[in-house]
């Protein structure tokens, strides 16, 4: 059950926090909420995912255009990075960073930059890291 407390009397201990969520009131109006750290992390992670999901979806038409154009691009631009904007190739370069610079200068967004290649591009990120306090 949600607990409501006054901002003026804010003096919390671990027992109070165990009852999270806590609603903080000021002049009888709810002004803030305290949630458990697990809920907070889920909330932040959810916002993060939402932004990236939106970005992923926004690029989908350009991604699909790239896939549609790929057979033809393999004949004309193999080994180059191409920039797809509004379903068309707007620029190309062997260096994706140079291409991105020009795209930023022209503000051609959203844009999908991809390597023209028979096989999808694979990047190696092999470093395992020890993560403690993870329930297994």
């Amino acid at each position: 059950m949600t607990k409501t407390i006054s901002l003026n009397s804010l003096s919390l201990d671990k027992t109070d926090l165990a009852q999270a969520p806590l609603i903080i009131e000021h002049e009888e109006e709810p002004v803030a909420a305290i949630v458990s750290i697990e809920d907070y992390r889920r909330l932040v992670a959810g916002q993060d995912d939402a932004w990236r999901q939106e970005q992923w979806q926004r690029l989908q038409p350009e991604r699909e255009a790239f896939r549609r154009l790929l057979p033809e691009l393999l004949k004309t631009h193999e080994g180059q990075f191409v920039a797809i904007h509004k379903g068309e190739v707007v620029d190309a370069d062997t260096d994706s960073r140079e291409l991105a610079k020009r795209i930023y200068d022209k503000k051609l967004l959203p844009v999908y930059i991809q390597l023209v290649s028979e096989q999808p591009r694979v990047i190696e990120l092999p470093s395992p890291e020890e993560v403690r306090h993870v329930p297994l």
Binding site: D48, A100, E124
Partner: protein, 124 residues
Amino acid sequence: MFHYDAQVMPPAPFVETQVINPLNGERFQLPGKLDTGAAMTVIPGDIVTALHLEQMGDVLCQGYDGVETPRPLYYVALEVTGYYIPMVEVTVSPRRDVLLGRDVLNHFILTLNGKDLTFELQDP
């Protein structure tokens, strides 16, 4: 000369890194771990949101176990210990620091002294 961060086990070389959105100049400072095993630089996912970075591609990332996962691509500017790199292709993962891969480290002369837990990073 820099010192390894002994707060992580085993100690590892970190440098202050600023991730910059080239479109609007928004920047975020956080530690960058030097990772010569990584082919590409990785930034924390929440930096993407904080800097309003536009996804501009995707790539398959192969982890230590050989598993390939599709990841989004972004283009950012980086400032690494005061050295400015105007355009870097990066991907994201759920982490708190930047992973500075060979795409960035190859701009520098990097000398690791593991015995002494010190290192040098210089722009020639």
